[in-house]
């Protein structure tokens, strides 16, 4: 790959990992700052039970801003969600204005509440497994998310979550 394309791919990778850390730390504004005004977010899964592709949650940037803004008003499980992300592929468009990436993720719930915090706090439990399908706008040496599809393997979701994944 040419020098520029290589640089662009590493900027994309870097942006994905920055998003991972912002989400891990519940720094929602930092996460949204990595996203373009056109950003669209969606959590999806395929259900063999009903033989359908499903959307578990979706929203534009404005919807996601509203969602995170109202989080303090909602009762929520306190256990942090932390993830391992591995970027598998990055494809930079020929005109260098956009890119697509596929990453896999594993989200752990680091128990604070658990079922009984006296017993469970401190333990990490596997919560979700899936892939991120991301699209980026490339501008001024920066990559901004325009699209993130969080594609889940899980359909058993137990208590679920209020947070972006």
């Amino acid at each position: 790959m040419q020098k520029n394309g290589h640089d662009a791919a590493s900027v994309v990778r870097d942006t994905i990992y920055r998003a991972t850390m912002a989400l891990d730390d519940q720094k929602w504004d930092d996460w949204l700052n990595l996203c373009d005004e056109e950003f669209h977010y969606r959590i999806s899964a395929f259900s063999p039970e009903i033989n359908k592709d499903m959307i578990y949650l979706q929203g534009k940037r404005k919807d996601m801003e509203g969602l995170v803004k109202l989080l303090p008003k909602h009762n929520t499980d306190h256990s942090p969600l932390r993830r391992h992300t591995s970027v598998y592929t990055v494809e930079v468009a020929d005109d260098m204005s956009s890119a697509e990436a596929v990453s896999s993720f594993v989200i752990y719930q680091n128990m604070l509440d658990g079922v009984n915090s006296h017993l469970d706090s401190g333990e990490s439990r596997l919560f979700l497994v899936g892939k991120y399908y991301d699209k980026f706008k490339l501008e001024d040496g920066k990559a901004k998310f325009v699209n993130r599809e969080v594609r889940l393997d899980n359909r058993r979701l137990d208590k679920g979550s209020h947070w972006p994944l």
Binding site: E49, G66, L70, N75
Partner: protein, 420 residues
């Protein structure tokens, strides 16, 4: 009252019988075993929706009270239910949650339910049509005509749900069982075919009745920010609970103001047929099924109790089969922004019942659980739970507030009438 000592804590509350129950109802293994035999093996359970098996030879698998079940659609389009158990040596006939028998399997032919173990085959009516080396092994002592599957009573009803009972002679027909509570929704859910667009499940360390209780009381709207801002108004507080025969409850409707939650929109445009805009009906069926129509989307919860302190809840969302892709997407957003696994309310409800489960583990001290709010049957009146546990006592022959005692002895007149 200040904090109480042990005997004060365990004393009966100053409420009437029926206005509180004993927590062992939620935590005792023996009571749970009894519930499986006396209730779950005898009631009608909506196990899936017909749209999950749209084509001939499609199937779904499920279970009731631990008994594995297969539901399949025949070439005649009829949906039938059987135990998912091979009559030979008890192999599970179908291991997948769904699929089609049109495809052949490694052990057997297309259009057959084949047991992979020794290749016995069954048709879509449950007849055994093939026993491998039948004559060689059984001579004339046993023939395939006599080793069909165990068929189960099965009906497609109330919006296209597939209802199954393990009881060959149920106390009442499905129509008598649930027709009256469904009356408020019937026009809306039976006007045209529905389709499931959402499925997920939760396994929660709590008793199944605690989930049903939450679905039967709205006092807990205090924990839902969304419901407080979109709901709490005069019409909301006038919303009524209606009790029906067999322990069912319906929560009457009112108009929800979705716009009061920042970023949310009215659901008026995609209301179900014959449903006035933004209305919200809730049907709670004994012993643990819930149908919830919020204007544009129907939600259905089905519980599969796994133990006194463990339950699986399956969540479905439904729209109209004829939805355009755009309409469907809007319905999905309406459904999932509140009720999805990452929606605003469901997570809170599940935290609530999980917390109750934590304090009511098997062998924890028995306590009094209060069901005594009386507000003229309106929305925060706990009549739904009182009605449910009265029915529960009848089926279990146990008093909910003293489960070692006989319900029939306490209610001799009704017991005598039922015996006739």
């Amino acid at each position: 009252m200040p904090a109480r000592n042990h005997s004060q804590w365990l004393a009966n509350p100053e409420l009437k019988e029926g206005e509180w129950i004993d927590s062992r109802v939620y935590s005792d293994q023996e009571i749970f075993n009894d519930e499986m035999e006396k209730i779950f093996k005898r009631v009608w359970v909506p196990v899936c929706h017909e749209s999950e098996l749209p084509e001939p030879y499609d199937f779904r698998t499920t279970s009731i009270a631990g008994e594995p079940i297969i539901v399949s659609r025949g070439p005649d389009k009829e949906i039938r239910a059987f135990l998912n158990v091979c009559p030979h040596r008890g192999m599970l006939l179908e291991r997948r949650p769904s699929g089609s028998f049109l495809e052949g399997q490694p052990s057997g032919n297309p259009k057959r339910i084949t047991c992979m173990f020794h290749a016995w085959q069954f048709d879509m009516k449950g007849n055994c049509v093939y026993v491998a080396r039948e004559k060689e092994g059984y001579q004339d002592r046993l023939c395939k005509e006599n080793v069909g599957l165990r068929r189960l009573r099965c009906e497609v009803k109330f919006g296209g749900f597939v209802w199954v009972t393990l009881d060959d002679s149920p106390k009442v027909s499905l129509e008598e069982w649930a027709g009256e509570p469904f009356e408020c929704l019937r026009e809306s859910i039976d006007a045209e075919p529905l389709e499931v667009f959402h499925y997920h499940k939760a396994i929660i360390d709590t008793n199944y009745k605690l989930w049903h209780d939450t679905n039967s009381e709205f006092y807990h709207d205090f924990m839902h920010y969304h419901n407080r801002v979109t709901g709490f108004n005069d019409a909301y507080f006038a919303r009524k609970n209606f009790a029906f025969k067999h322990g069912h409850v319906v929560v009457g409707t009112f108009e929800v103001n979705y716009e009061n939650y920042e970023g949310f929109e009215s659901r008026a445009e995609l209301s179900f047929p014959h449903l006035p805009p933004n209305q919200w009906y809730m049907v709670d069926l004994f012993p643990g099924m819930n149908f919830n129509l919020r204007g544009s989307a129907l939600r259905c919860d089905i519980v599969t109790p796994l133990g006194p302190d463990k339950v699986m809840i399956e969540f479905r969302g439904l729209g109209l089969k004829r939805d355009t892709p755009q309409e469907r997407e809007i319905r999905i957003n309406h459904h999932n922004s509140i009720w999805g696994p990452f929606g605003r309310n469901l997570h809170e409800d599940l935290i609530g019942v999980a917390g109750q489960g934590t304090t009511m583990r098997p062998h924890t001290e028995q306590r009094r659980i209060l069901h005594g709010r009386q507000e003229n049957q309106t929305i925060h009146d706990e009549v739904g739970m009182r009605h449910y546990y009265d029915e529960w006592g009848r089926w279990m022959n146990r008093l909910p507030n003293d489960p070692e005692k006989s319900w029939h002895e306490r209610n001799p007149a009704e017991a005598a009438a039922a015996a006739e």
